[in-house]
């Protein structure tokens, strides 16, 4: 008898589970070893509580009424539930607070894309530690997690979420026009970006060229100088922030894993300042991401800086397998 399960969900059988468990233990070991205590939160929360974190991301794909008529939602990530937990349970605690998790989250899927509705994430949240030290600490933990997963070739992209918002404001572009352009930047639609920006009144060709050139700057420390040469106060501020983080990373000996990327923009609404993405050359998809969200805790009534990251466990596992077979044998 075949009994179906919804597309985008799956069973895990012992062979895979054994490998996943090994990966889970390695990552949680890294997090715990660095003082991050593991927490769990319910998969189901009140929709209005999640929506406090961010209207867009908390827009859960799975919402339903329970028998008493309350609107509930399945979480779409762990950052917002942990912000809720910290505000509720750790309001008077000594900061910074270091928490980690290994949990399933739920998102909408488009059919026939091999996307998962339910997926496992492992990550950390560092609450109450400002940039640049807090950011650098999170990146250091991420680098250690990638080492523990044997992803020696993996790279951490470091960008700045405020750069284009401020740059476009500098160009006099506000409101819907700016949101539309930020959408193009996040999707990296350079053709559309150039066309749309050129059409705006008061935006010079020079400014269009600056915006396009910035979005293509990625590499080592030298790209910060290249960015600065393009000029402007927004660029100056963003490169200063990234430069400070990079100095911290150099001091911690993990800058080698980091690629400065001025074109990096994640579409999650709550990021501010540093944003992170994780890539491995063996996989065409992003392995994880994170960054700073200094405004998020405030929405839950506790005004604290925060940063963190999450790795998609299934993708990390696929990358491990591909890296192993590339190296020509089992580990």
């Amino acid at each position: 008898m075949i009994h179906p399960i919804p597309p985008g969900t799956r069973d895990v059988l012992p062979d895979e589970m054994r490998e996943l468990r090994r990966l889970h233990l390695a990552l949680i070991g890294v997090f715990e070893g660095r003082g991050y205590g593991e927490v769990a939160t319910p998969a189901i929360e009140y929709d209005e509580v999640l929506a406090q974190g961010d209207g867009r991301t908390a827009d859960s794909a799975y919402r339903f009424f329970d028998s008493s008529g309350d609107l509930l939602a399945l979480r779409s990530d762990m950052t917002i539930p942990i912000a809720r937990l910290v505000a509720t349970r750790f309001a008077g605690a000594e900061m910074p607070l270091r928490l980690c998790y290994l949990a399933n989250a739920f998102r909408a899927v488009r059919p026939q894309r091999g996307q998962m509705r339910e997926f496992a994430q492992a990550g950390v949240e560092l609450i109450g530690a400002p940039a640049p030290q807090g950011t650098a600490e999170v990146i250091e933990v991420l680098a250690a997690a990638l080492d523990a997963a044997s992803l020696d070739r993996a790279v951490i992209g470091l960008g700045d979420a405020d750069l284009y918002r401020q740059l476009l404001a500098e160009f006099g572009v506000e409101n819907e026009a700016r949101e539309s352009l930020l959408g193009r930047l996040a999707a990296h639609d350079l053709v559309g970006l150039e066309a749309e920006l050129s059409e705006l009144p008061g935006v010079s060709d020079q400014q269009v060229a600056t915006c396009i050139a910035l979005s293509q700057l990625r590499g080592g420390k030298e790209v910060l100088d290249e960015a600065r040469s393009l000029g402007g106060a927004a660029v100056e501020r963003a490169t200063a922030r990234m430069g400070e983080t990079l100095e911290e990373l150099e001091a911690r000996g993990v800058s080698e894993r980091v690629q400065i990327d001025l074109g990096l923009l994640r579409d999650l609404g709550y990021y501010s300042g540093a944003i992170l993405e994780v890539y491995d050359p063996a996989l065409g998809h992003v392995l994880g991401g994170g960054g700073r969200y200094d405004g998020l805790m405030k929405r839950f009534g506790l005004d604290l800086p925060a940063a963190g990251f999450a790795l998609y466990m299934e993708r990390v596992h696929v990358a491990q397998i591909k890296e192993e077979s590339r190296a020509g044998g089992s580990p």
Partner: protein, 222 residues
């Protein structure tokens, strides 16, 4: 260079090349930037043409976003029509290559008022197309209700034998429309070939991707 030390590229960059109408001009554009396309031009039935720095992989234009999104191909060339129809595919659109120019149009039978008639008397037009999402978005944006019927083959057939009141299709010269007694009623958008990249390849093979983008841009005289 920081960050780049660890990411050792796996072999030559894989470039997805669209077969069909865009193939000739795509190969010309690649020739112009010094990529050897002689193998791909030959009579060979192969789909993959390995090269020194770039491997050409030939496929249907509508498959290019699929391969590039997954990273099976690092970069690719395909029409804007394909990218719009599959707009939820995550690929970076780096360059408008300018060739393969054609128009997405709404067309109806010559001298036949069925489109307007259907709209007026039934409140709804039936539109046959190979581009259901582009069509839906166009009518939604212009505030009209339509029934979009997806067909795979010659879409011109649909209004001729009564499947639909009109069609949304890609037109290069307009000859096919003419031969089938159809005419353009509305222009929806203009499409050209685009150079796209996988998100991870764009980050980890930055130098190669940027180099190729710059050369293509230069040879197009932009």
């Amino acid at each position: 260079m920081a960050g780049m030390g660890r990411a050792k590229a796996d072999g030559p960059l894989k470039l997805a090349v669209p077969r069909g109408a865009l193939l000739g001009e795509t190969l010309d554009a690649l020739d112009a930037v010094g990529i050897d396309t002689s193998e791909a031009r030959g009579e060979s039935r192969s789909l993959i043409f390995p090269g020194q720095s770039i491997t050409l992989v030939t496929m249907r234009p509508s498959d290019v976003p699929t391969y590039v999104e997954a990273g099976a191909a690092d970069v690719g060339i395909t029409g804007k029509d394909v990218l719009l129809e599959q707009h939820d595919r995550v690929v970076y659109e780096l360059l408008d290559l300018g060739f393969g120019r054609c128009r997405m149009v709404l067309a109806g039978r010559v001298g036949d008022e069925r489109l307007g008639e259907a709209q007026r008397r039934l409140g709804m037009m039936r539109i046959a197309t190979k581009y259901p999402r582009i069509a839906e978005r166009h009518f939604e944006r212009t505030g009209r209700q339509v029934e979009v019927i997806e067909v795979k083959g010659s879409v011109e057939l649909a209004p001729l034998i009564g499947l639909a009141d009109g069609i949304v299709d890609l037109v290069a010269t307009g000859r096919t429309l003419e031969e089938n007694d159809l005419e353009v009623r509305e222009e929806i958008l203009e499409c050209t070939a685009r150079f796209v990249a996988n998100r991870v390849a764009h980050k980890l093979r930055a130098r190669e991707v940027d180099g190729l983008t710059a050369k293509l841009r230069e040879s197009l005289g932009k």
